[in-house]
């Protein structure tokens, strides 16, 4: 993993949460954005049998995963037949090297990038800069984030943590754009800055939304047109994607598209669905002369080993889980310290980074289930969070933990606490004794009980437990 440099940062969850919660700008930026996105999603599915559509989305993804190795081989064969060069990388570092080598072989100086979360995951820009290659983000949100030298705070809307004023100030400082609240003006300015780069870039790098095994087709979904420019204008296009993005048939993308754009931003479709099946052919007048596909594993094949955890790989990266997450809405994307924030990040990042460095993530959920309820491919996110909680404390002797870094959250104090819980609650006698003591000495109930009473008054035990009331009632001749 290339994340070694940020490992220690990932662990600092609580301080980052505090910082985010104390920032009213962050709070209101996310609240407003998430409210808007939730409303749009709901409207977008008007008139659909959403249960049935989600069933289909899940079925398509499950079928792809069931045949994953075969489909990857088929994808590879069909890509090669059409002139797409296919590369495999076990780690993010390897993927960076592959891409770096392609760039160097072409003596590339500048790379223009379309949005790709996998490239964020493997810190590709950082790697390319080290190799002396300029990598410029062209998606407007990514461009803003890059100007600010930050990372995306949302997988679909990278700059959602900033408001117009902040963006205007940033563009003014970094590019000399005049300060303005006119979004059209700011957008036009970014367009102007990037046009030149599109024309001169040596390589275009993009992600992939779906890779179709049947036809060797790479599908990219976008609104701005930067993805199309990235994959059409430079002489070389490199598409980089996780191995789980493959689907079997071309028709499979139809339900996934319907789900993806509606779940993500409430659009019935994005402006562009760009399907690429090869480099420029004879007599064609544009398009790259070389197309490469880099398939990145980076922990995914390990997730695939476990039938329950495998569900994580169904994800089509729509971001609906974070849009609906009450925790994400409060703390924003950066608090997580991981490439993928929110619920999907909580169930995916432990596999990419290890549970030891992500140990606070599985517990940072109320298990409210809003994420699972909106997931377009029905990933049982709360169940997977629960599973990772178990893995992080090695809490089940019947089912050994398998995730890298498991058991790292197991602390003797907590084990002792749950053993005490068991000692009392597994014994009716001891439990009734507890009830008797609590009611009898209720006057001595502490008014401060740890973190709970920092923000709330502590609950007071009742004068009689229900056990006692029912008992007395029976003795008194009640039913």
């Amino acid at each position: 993993m290339t994340q070694t440099s940020t490992l220690s940062d990932v662990r600092e969850f609580h301080p980052r949460v505090r910082t985010a919660l104390d920032n009213p700008q962050i709070r209101s930026n996310f609240r407003n954005a998430m409210d808007g996105l939730m409303g749009k999603r709901q409207k977008a599915f008007d008139g659909w049998d959403l249960d049935k559509l989600r069933d289909l989305g899940a079925a398509v993804r499950l079928r792809a995963l069931a045949r994953l190795p075969e489909l990857l081989e088929r994808l590879e064969a069909n890509c090669i037949r059409q002139g797409i060069q296919v590369h495999w990388a076990e780690t993010g570092e390897q993927a960076c090297e592959i891409i770096g080598d392609i760039c160097k072989a072409r003596q590339a100086r500048t790379v223009i990038k379309g949005k790709s979360m996998v490239s964020e995951e493997m810190e590709l820009n950082h790697y390319l800069e080290e190799q002396g290659i300029e990598a410029l983000e062209s998606d407007l949100g990514e461009y803003i984030v890059q100007l600010a030298e930050e990372t995306p705070s949302h997988i679909i809307m990278p700059a959602i943590h900033k408001n117009t004023t902040e963006i205007s100030d940033l563009m003014h400082e970094r590019t000399g754009t005049e300060r303005s609240h006119d979004v059209d003006y700011l957008t036009a300015s970014a367009r102007q800055q990037l046009r030149e780069k599109f024309m001169t870039a040596d390589v275009g790098i993009s992600g992939v939304n779906f890779a179709v095994a049947q036809t060797g087709t790479l599908c990219l979904v976008e609104n701005e047109g930067n993805g199309r420019l990235t994959t059409t204008v430079p002489p070389c296009h490199i598409a980089v994607t996780g191995i789980e993005k493959v689907v079997e048939h071309l028709e499979d993308i139809s339900p996934l598209l319907a789900l993806l754009t509606r779940s993500a931003t409430g659009q019935h479709i994005t402006t562009y669905v760009n399907m690429i099946s090869g480099p420029r052919r004879d007599a064609e007048l544009d398009g790259p002369e070389a197309v490469h596909l880099v398939l990145v594993d980076s922990g995914r094949s390990s997730v695939y080993q476990d039938p329950e955890l495998m569900d994580t790989l169904r994800c089509i990266r729509c971001g609906a889980c974070m849009n609906h997450c009450p925790v994400y809405t409060r703390v924003g994307g950066h608090a997580y310290g991981t490439t993928y924030p929110g619920p999907i990040g909580k169930i995916l990042m432990p596999h990419l980074l290890g549970l030891d460095s992500t140990r606070d993530l599985p517990s940072a959920s109320t298990l409210c289930g809003a994420c699972g309820e909106v997931c377009p491919v029905r990933i049982p996110i709360p169940t997977l969070l629960q599973r990772l909680r178990k893995e992080s404390v090695d809490g089940d002797r019947l089912r050994p933990s398998v995730v890298r870094g498991h058991g790292s959250k197991r602390h003797w104090k907590e084990v002792l606490a749950w053993n005490a819980f068991r000692w009392i609650f597994a014994s009716p006698g001891r439990y009734r004794l507890l009830g008797m003591l609590m009611t009898r000495f209720r006057a001595f109930t502490p008014s401060r009980v740890g973190a709970w009473s920092r923000y709330r008054s502590a609950p007071k035990p009742a004068a009689r437990t229900l056990h006692q009331l029912v008992n007395e009632r029976a003795k008194g001749g009640g039913r």
């Binding site: 049935k52 809003a370 178990k390 084990v415 819980f421 609650f425 920092r454 609950p459 007071k460």
Partner: protein, 260 residues
Amino acid sequence: MTDPIKLYPAKPEKVYFFATCLVDLFYPDAGMAGIQLLEREGIEVLFPQDQTCCGQPAFSSGFNDQARDVVVPQLDLFPGDYPIVVPAGSCGGMMRKHYPELFAGTPWQEKAEALAARTWELTDFLLNVCHIRLKDQGKPVKVAMHTSCSARREMGIAEVGPRLLGQLGQVELVEQARAEECCGFGGTFAVRHPEISEAMVNDKTEALVAAGAETVVATDCGCMMNIAGFAEKNQRPLKGQHIVSFLWERTGCSDGEGEA
């Protein structure tokens, strides 16, 4: 993959009552109200004295071993083929949805599955099995409803509370912003991530106050403790009450034994 349609049983002669530890130790009035509502519907209520806790606190913290050990002795407390009713969506969800996964592949699997299939959340049971008809005898009041996330999403009963309250002529159920959003309780979440929990319960409380409710009526004691506890500590004008206590109180405690 779609959730199976719930098949309600015919109204039985008897039910088992699983109180939950929070109700037992902190809010027994809610338990007693539940028992009495069921009895008023002509159902005999069996209360196994050896019941303790559903095991959820340990389970949701990842300590499955401890959770299982707490549950196992209780699997035998409900021998008759009667429904088990629970005055909480979250404990009900634990029993109905999570016992089967907790005990999968263990000697207790069959028992756990049988118990899960017989478990019902109390208000759901009152409305959809007993077809309860409530007659309001209280003064006009404005309340808001908080359906816990497990009641809403695991037990699928978001409609039940409002429909029961709708039967009460003098009760105005006020609309709140973001009713379906979590209150920030989440069991041990509230103490593991107190800052986030506080941000959530703060927003929830403000939404309820802004809605003009004097009382928030909740399906679950956990959420109620969270919201009402926050309101009390921060001197916000909002009280909390378990929905079952509220229903019993409003309908006149008619067999004369209820505690208002």
